[in-house]
Subunit: 239 residues, 4 copies
Amino acid sequence: MDGDEIIVRGYNLSSELIGKLGFTAMFLLDLDGVIPTPARVRVVDSILVALMEHGITPSTLAGRLVLDGAPEAAQGAVAAGLLATGSRFLGTSEEAARLLQGVVAAGTNLEEASRTAIRELIATDSRVPGLGHNLHKKTDPRVRALIGVAREEGQAGRHVEALGALESAAQSELGRPLLVNAAGAVGAILSDLGYRPEDVRSFALVARCAGLVAHIAEERREPMARSVWVGLQEHRDEN
Amino acid sequence: MDGDEIIVRGYNLSSELIGKLGFTAMFLLDLDGVIPTPARVRVVDSILVALMEHGITPSTLAGRLVLDGAPEAAQGAVAAGLLATGSRFLGTSEEAARLLQGVVAAGTNLEEASRTAIRELIATDSRVPGLGHNLHKKTDPRVRALIGVAREEGQAGRHVEALGALESAAQSELGRPLLVNAAGAVGAILSDLGYRPEDVRSFALVARCAGLVAHIAEERREPMARSVWVGLQEHRDEN
Amino acid sequence: MDGDEIIVRGYNLSSELIGKLGFTAMFLLDLDGVIPTPARVRVVDSILVALMEHGITPSTLAGRLVLDGAPEAAQGAVAAGLLATGSRFLGTSEEAARLLQGVVAAGTNLEEASRTAIRELIATDSRVPGLGHNLHKKTDPRVRALIGVAREEGQAGRHVEALGALESAAQSELGRPLLVNAAGAVGAILSDLGYRPEDVRSFALVARCAGLVAHIAEERREPMARSVWVGLQEHRDEN
Amino acid sequence: MDGDEIIVRGYNLSSELIGKLGFTAMFLLDLDGVIPTPARVRVVDSILVALMEHGITPSTLAGRLVLDGAPEAAQGAVAAGLLATGSRFLGTSEEAARLLQGVVAAGTNLEEASRTAIRELIATDSRVPGLGHNLHKKTDPRVRALIGVAREEGQAGRHVEALGALESAAQSELGRPLLVNAAGAVGAILSDLGYRPEDVRSFALVARCAGLVAHIAEERREPMARSVWVGLQEHRDEN
């Protein structure tokens, strides 16, 4: 802040940013310190759009319950919803990014590095972050869409390639297909954009915050949380 | 902290507090700056015990859901549960304390001050904090227990008296009984202990934190949150 | 979710939304149920950009401190930062929207309705939400920028007009200028977009979430929170 | 809840618990399902008392900042403070409990199991949870006090013994003393009481919640948070 003008990352907020940048470009300026290219904005937008809305999850239900208990403080409802987006929901894309960055760093032969990584995970009986899904038997259509945008914009690189190598290695090592999931695509693309694994969660938090805000607005208009907990309480009292 | 010794509110933690004070006495020392009398401790204990466990509420269910999403960070589950203890659940004892402190401050005639207060609430179509309950047709047994302890310990004073005056005034103004509820008893007793309305929530937060911790430990042993949100998600998908 | 396809608000996520919508359009689809016009997106973007980054505030400092204590759970740091965006920081635009919607609803004469509103606030010794600022003696440049974008896009209506009327009424009633501030502009523009006062906070929460994420990433790279609390602790120990 | 009576863990809240149990006994009833012995209550009290108040920490400062931003929602301030009590502050006693339970489970010879454990930690260049401290050159007086109470009450067992064996093993393996710290004492005693490592954090959360509530009440009476962030903001603007 300089006198009457607010300066953000070297730019005059009022004359250079408001009305000139969209949300995602401003977010990336704040995060990275430089105004992003339109290609980068479109790729990040595709990820934020993919992650925003997931229906009823622990996160959105927790947010709605907190609104029911404390309707005066909507920030508490959003905060509670974000708290539920921990390792079980957001951790996977972070872990996928870590795995892919390890594979890419391991050398020039992605196939070999992928096989080594898959074998290590099998040896420790771990799941492969970024592969596998409980619902989709075919390639998750979000994966195709996300990687498609990254390729169109010339932003897909070695990590997206490594994700494919990992899928092939998993198939040959396990003898059955283990398909790329959305968390894998997000982890690969953000890695190609230069983000570290721990930054990956940042994008998910921003997307989920927007989704939560929409759920909380819906809960205000059409409440459902109260019937959930009252129903459970009655059920418990009877038993 | 003084060299190797930790000093809390003027007392040596290791030689004067650990093993000498119980939780509630230590909490009151930290809050008020003086070691409380045993009478005061027993009265506060009765309130903390009454407020601790309420079964499935927005608070405990939100805490369990957050644990399901982020099992690595139990502090997030407790935090989310506390966020749900807002105006709808904890606010009432605070409002009851405010009302009772207003009645007591209004002068020596509690009956008249109570009638005035009740009339003002009726005029603005407001409910009377501290009176009324959706379940108990007879006096809530917690009310009798809490006020009983406060009287035994010589800690019940003008605010507990004002609560009775308020109940009588409500009956005569409304023409039907509106019984003292637990929030009213808590608000009156804490007022008699000298706390301001905004401090009342403090006691509820401490009690609820302990109850939440117990729910979260139970959720770890016998998970139930996942079945709740998965059931809702499937129901929503079908509709 | 329908088989392999995820449907959000009636649209196929993979084929109709990813790569097609930016963040803000997707957020407005989720919030309002319809894909917004480009004009609406640009106006909302201008507001989100204006609210995103405010340097060191209670919110960003709380987020950084939580990261220092719990680096394993970045969602906790963002949640804590959002919790600090309560009435003192986000409430003003909500209150400004409430005031302006009241003025517009009061009838066709905005000047008269504004004077009445200002007189009522003066009578109860209240500040006027949306007017006045502790720093800027001239019109806040963000106000000009925000209202400029809303006008360019044909989205400024009666509530922006009412904000001007309020400013004039304040000047004539108080005998000194009380200029429109950024919260007033945000409240007016979002009211013109059709949002209720309680929705206004939603936009601020999304913008602040993005700003918090940027602060938390910076704290990871260049920590400052530890020096703050250690400095305070040492200061307290000496005194 | 059965008609007018509230039943908690098989006990009638009003007639069997309120006025009969203190906070800690009620908490242990809720957590463990049985009313604890007085010995167990005194030992748990000693731990809660030791963990409650630590002056200015990331946790208490985050809580105070959130109160400054959202004074209307004290539950948010307490929640934010709890969020800061993550791995860096509360994790150590949990890890110490895990280590000690491993040593005890490893067999009858605690000395040998301790040496093995210490060597493994040295080999992976890890610190030893429960030993070492940056301030106290002599045994932390809290350790003596806590273990003293556990012994007096006949609650110290194999895990407290293992803690001593670990200290000796560290000295002989490292060639310099690495003294037991408070987290180690807490982890050992709670292990002797039968709690699993992940339960250890529960006790810390309850104690810290009480400490936070006291800080927040103090912040209301004597605010300090605003001067902290305003000072930092001005410092940043100048630089």
